[in-house]
């Protein structure tokens, strides 16, 4: 038996770093805080790698399957004899995989930020919150029970809020951070309801019990139906609502594009690689129950599929490079959700599950790389808009090379990482649902198109008149780019079917070339169209957009979803819900309180003579009290 209890330090180190740097941030030079934060994450990264090695390759398997073990467990609150809230560390294939993803990307982002954030006001604050985020996110993935997960889930939300609003003097950043917080918080309300319903019906929060073979979730909560679905289905849907909010699934996606107001490293860490996949992780964590509640799983699949298409369409029309990447993220996460939605459980049936986790893993690398590359570009030209860029490949050779690798990876061109994981998703979709499968072929083509539209607009075409000649970023920024580019190239060769599967049992799987070759061709077509339209600046693209007419305008305006939300909240909610509630609050609730206050005041005025300061009166009251007690007992006696 290997001792894993040290894994609690993976959580504690970022927490300690956060507390220390948060309290002492002003006393040192900013760079000291940055180095402390980066060093802390470096240790976490090493610990995660060691843990993964020991878990996957040293630890004995039980009946051929990877174990799920509690490396650390502490009972925090005993609610009843059976129901209690624990804080601990759960190690199983997906949590260990997530440890690797989070610590790697977070470590890279820390290094990168040393260069990117240099000279910014609030440099120390930035690193301090970054540590808080790392702590929360790591705590989320190693949660042993759904309540612990919920606590860290909210902490992640808070640190995301703080980081989006990092430039708090900028109005748009403040608005974006509020929007992100409120929308995800609204979704979390669903999550909380789901948790309460689930724990009420099953009597436990514990993941191992809930997702084990004899889960109480399979038996309880089936009888009572509401609107045609059982209690358990409803609780799963509510939990999925929380996941959909964090993972920016349609229609709760509106916060993610605005969240790009935060510093670019934050976008790479939180809004591309880690936090936004929390929803996918949540569904994967609860997968046995979702699988048992097929109707809920079906909804997951369709929400994921629709989001991936919807976001890909919008991504084709945006000019802000970070927003293109944001929509691309939504689209890719939609793919992961879809893969979970079409998955079965156990062995080769669990292909979708495996593919989803695989794609989550590879996506973290190339999407973080894309964002960090975008950061380097913005750093060089001081603009977010691609039509103010062009011909940058000569000035930024490293950024250019790594960005190209990432584009190829996300487009699914072999041998880059994205090809393998995306292919598995397509295979899983093909075996389950042909309509979703066809949709994903379309998405694959569009992904290749919009990525290369971005790539050509930025790195090729005519050079713009820049304020000063763009220059390559410093080593602290390019080094993470190179490391992530290596990851994006080779991560696809990791045998995920042997490591991360739905029932922890390895299975054999080969690339189905019958599905893979058409998808490569589609991607190549997408790239080809982008090359024709954007490699040289020409009017053709404008003509195409004019030809598309209303559809293009709608997509450019993100299908007016934001306006719909504004209408619902401002016009309907404020007028018809908030006002009556406010009236009730002001007149009924406050009125009652005022009455209590009035009565209290009068009463205390009336009795104040009782406390006279005369000792003989006190003695009298004492003796009267004794007599009163005696009378009271006599009364009780006779009754």
């Amino acid at each position: 038996m290997i001792d894993f209890s040290y894994t609690i330090w993976i959580l504690l180190i970022p927490l300690i770093v956060f507390v220390v740097t948060g309290l002492t941030g002003n006393r040192f030079k900013p760079i000291v805080t940055g180095i402390i934060g980066t060093a802390g994450l470096g240790i976490v990264f090493l610990l995660s790698v060691i843990t993964a090695y020991k878990f996957f390759f040293v630890l004995d398997k039980v009946d051929g399957a990877f174990q799920r073990l509690l490396a650390f467990n502490y009972t925090w609150l005993n609610l009843t004899d059976k129901l209690h809230i624990n804080i601990g560390v759960l190690l199983d294939p997906i949590s260990v995989m997530m440890l690797i993803v989070i610590s790697t990307v977070s470590f890279m982002v820390h290094i990168y930020s040393l260069g990117y954030m240099k000279g910014e006001k609030g440099f120390a604050r930035f690193f301090s919150i970054l540590s808080l985020f790392s702590f929360s996110m790591l705590g989320l993935v190693i949660a042993t029970n759904i309540f612990q997960m919920y606590i860290f889930w909210e902490l992640v939300g808070v640190s995301s809020f703080l980081l989006i609003g990092f430039y708090y003097e900028k109005d748009s950043a403040v608005a974006a951070s509020k929007k992100a917080f409120i929308v995800t918080r609204f979704a979390d309300l669903g999550f909380l309801i789901g948790i309460l319903v689930l724990s009420y019906t099953t009597g436990t929060f514990d993941f191992i019990t809930l997702t084990g073979p004899n889960s109480p979730a399979f038996t309880s909560g089936q009888g009572i139906m509401f609107l045609g679905m059982s209690t358990m289905t409803w609780s799963m849907l509510f939990i999925f609502m929380g996941g959909a909010g964090k993972s920016a699934m349609f229609p709760l996606h509106i916060w993610l594009p605005d969240a790009m107001e935060g510093p670019t490293p934050v976008s790479a860490l939180i809004h591309a690689a880690t936090m936004v996949v929390a929803g996918v992780y949540l569904v994967a964590r609860m997968f046995p129950i979702f699988h048992h509640e097929q109707s809920a799983l079906e909804i997951v699949a369709w929400v994921g599929g629709f989001t991936s298409l919807f976001a890909a369409v919008i991504a084709c029309t945006q000019y802000d490079i970070k927003r293109v990447l944001a929509y691309s993220t939504m689209s890719q996460i939609g793919l992961m959700m879809l893969a979970l939605g079409v998955s079965g459980y156990g062995g080769e049936d669990g292909l979708g599950y495996m593919a989803s986790m695989f794609h989550l893993f590879t996506h973290a690398f190339f999407k973080a790389l894309l964002f960090l590359g975008a950061g380097a570009i913005i750093h060089a030209v001081h603009s977010n808009y691609m039509h103010e860029m062009g011909g940058l490949r000569k000035h930024l050779p490293i950024t250019h090379a790594t960005f190209l690798i990432a584009c190829l990876a996300i487009s699914g061109i072999p041998p880059f990482a994205g090809f393998f994981s995306k292919d598995e998703i397509l295979v899983a979709a093909f075996h389950h649902n042909k309509a979703l499968f066809a949709m994903e072929y379309l998405v694959a083509g569009m992904t290749a198109f919009y990525m290369f539209r971005l790539y050509f607009n930025v790195f090729w075409g005519k050079e713009q008149h820049y304020h000063h000649t763009p220059h390559e970023a410093p080593l602290t920024m390019t080094l993470p780019l190179i490391i992530l580019a290596i990851g994006s190239t080779f991560a696809g060769f990791i045998p995920f079917t042997k490591l991360v599967t739905s029932d922890s049992l390895p299975f054999e799987n080969n690339t189905e070339w019958g599905i893979a070759i058409p998808s490569i061709l589609i991607a190549l077509v997408g790239i080809g169209i982008a090359t024709m339209l954007y490699m040289k600046k020409s009017d053709t693209s404008k003509k195409v957009s004019i030809a598309l007419g209303g559809f293009y305008t709608a997509a450019f305006n993100k299908f007016y979803i934001d306006q719909v939300y504004l209408f619902i909240t401002k016009k309907i909610l404020f007028n018809y819900v908030s006002r009556p509630v406010a009236w009730f609050d002001r007149h009924i609730v406050d009125g009652t309180m005022n009455q209590i206050a009035f009565v209290t005041n009068v009463a205390s005025d009336k009795i104040k003579g009782f406390q006279s300061g005369q000792l003989q009166q006190y003695a009298l009251a004492f003796v009267s009290g004794v007599i009163g007690l005696a009378l009271l007992f006599t009364y009780l006696w006779t009754n």
């Binding site: 004492f622 007690l629 007992f633 009780l636």
Partner: protein, 469 residues
């Protein structure tokens, strides 16, 4: 020996302090403060070392793991009071009396511990008196101040009355059962009229100690007149000890008439909480204010007793532990400000946040804890008490208690409002706290947060509460 370890340790350090007082030259008297605090810290730590349980003197003295823990809780409170007193004792007029102060304080603590460990009403009474009489001397410690002298006199007279009545009750119990041993009184206590009368007298005497309405009238006057640190000692340690022993005796010796005393407690709880709150609203002097707030808190403590369950016992102990930290935090701030500036009314605190932000924050957190606002410990203390009472179906009582919590929130917020929102032409000037004051407040602050968050503490108390039966 080891069975009586808590008391023997305290006696030992009292003797040490007496000897030091005799042999220390006059100009070095202030060193006694550090010595006393170090010795008390050692006693506190040694008290946590697990030791044997058992009885001594033919059953007159007994101790269990539960009782040891209660003693440790009292030791914590006493230690914090001793630390907080340092600043006040350094004043020129008190310099000559430092060891006197600590010796008297430790004597009362020894009395309380004997009271907790008693297995017999005689021992109980001896402990009670040992805990009371030195307190009267302490209340009149600043004997040239009229208020302090008044406090001492009022305290000794009221105590004499209550002790007399309590002793009268004990004599009735002895007369009807023929024994004073708890273990023998329990089975023999069947609830004949004379026994019940004896119980009433006994209960009135204890109610005086915990300051339950209508036996509470001495509280405000004594708290106001006595030195601040003595008021805080009276309000937490003395009250805590009395609450513990009352709970134990009600649960064991008087369990046969549990139905009756539960009904009486029901009424007394409502009276105590409500009266305490109503009077607290009117107070301008912070010491009187805290006196009435502590009366209301005493009513809350009884909520845990009424169900007569192991869980109830746990909640009472837990609440007292939380209350020690919160109330000592509030009193600590009042004490330092009173020592440095002489200001004791709420209006004097206007704009405190601007001049002394740390003290204002400390005061705010302590008051939050007293009011029961999450996430500080006071919230959990009240929550568990309410849960204990609700477990027994006492929903109306819990509702009344909750309404009273809202009322209490009002007057606690009045102080917070004064400190943070009001502006003042003559605010309390900025001053630096000395080491001991800061240490005392930091200990309270740590307690206010740690006791609430670390659930192990509650679990540990709950585990030991089994020991009662």
């Amino acid at each position: 020996m080891l069975i009586m370890r808590h008391e023997l340790l305290l006696i030992a350090i009292t003797v040490i302090l007496l000897l030091v007082e005799i042999f220390l030259p006059g100009d070095k008297k202030s060193r006694v403060i550090t010595l006393a605090i170090l010795l008390m810290t050692a006693v506190l730590i040694l008290g946590f070392v697990p030791g044997p349980s058992g009885t001594l003197f033919g059953g007159m003295y007994q101790t269990t793991a539960l009782i040891s823990m209660l003693k440790n809780i009292l030791n914590i409170g006493a230690l914090i009071v001793m630390i907080q007193s340092a600043d006040w004792l350094r004043k020129p007029e008190n310099k000559e009396k430092i060891s006197e102060y600590y010796i008297l304080l430790l004597s009362t603590l020894i009395g309380m511990q004997y009271m907790l460990s008693s297995g017999d009403f005689l021992m109980f009474y001896l402990g009670l008196e040992l805990a009371t009489i030195p307190l009267a001397a302490l209340a009149a410690f600043e004997r040239f101040k009229e208020k302090s002298a008044e406090a001492g006199v009022k305290f000794i007279f009221s105590s004499a009355l209550s002790s007399g009545i309590l002793l009268y009750g004990l004599s009735m119990i002895y007369g009807t059962t023929g024994t004073l041993y708890f273990a023998e009184v329990g089975p023999a206590f069947t609830g004949t009229p004379l026994q019940v009368l004896g119980f009433i007298f006994f209960f009135a005497g204890m109610a005086f100690k915990i300051s339950l309405v209508p036996f509470h009238l001495w509280t405000a006057d004594v708290y106001e007149g006595a030195p601040v640190n003595i008021s805080s000692y009276l309000s937490v340690v003395s009250k805590g000890a009395a609450a513990f022993i009352l709970t134990i005796l009600l649960f064991t010796v008087f369990s046969k008439i549990a139905l009756m005393w539960s009904n009486v407690l029901y009424i007394i709880i409502i009276l105590t909480i409500t009266m305490g709150n109503l009077f607290a609203i009117r107070q301008q002097n912070l010491k009187r204010f805290l006196a009435f707030s502590s009366i209301a808190q005493a009513g809350f403590i009884l909520l845990g007793i009424i169900g007569q369950s192991q869980y109830g016992m746990t909640t009472v102990i837990y609440f007292v532990l939380v209350y020690i930290f919160s109330n000592l935090g509030a009193f600590g701030v009042v004490s330092i400000i009173s020592n440095r500036t002489g200001c004791e009314t709420i209006n004097d605190y206007d704009g405190l946040y601007r001049t002394n932000p740390r003290l204002a924050m400390m005061m705010m957190l302590s008051l939050f804890s007293l009011a029961g606002i999450p996430p500080v410990a006071g919230f959990f203390g009240k929550f568990f008490l309410f849960a204990a009472a609700a477990n027994h179906g006492l929903y109306i009582l819990v509702l009344i208690a909750i309404i009273n919590t809202i009322i209490s929130l009002y007057y606690y917020l009045l102080v917070i409002k004064a400190m943070f929102l009001n502006r003042s032409d003559r605010p309390i000037p900025k001053f630096k706290s000395d080491f001991y004051t800061s240490l005392g407040l930091i200990l309270c602050l740590a307690g206010i947060f740690a006791v609430g968050i670390a659930s192990t503490i509650f679990e540990a108390i709950n585990g030991l509460s089994f020991g009662l039966y």
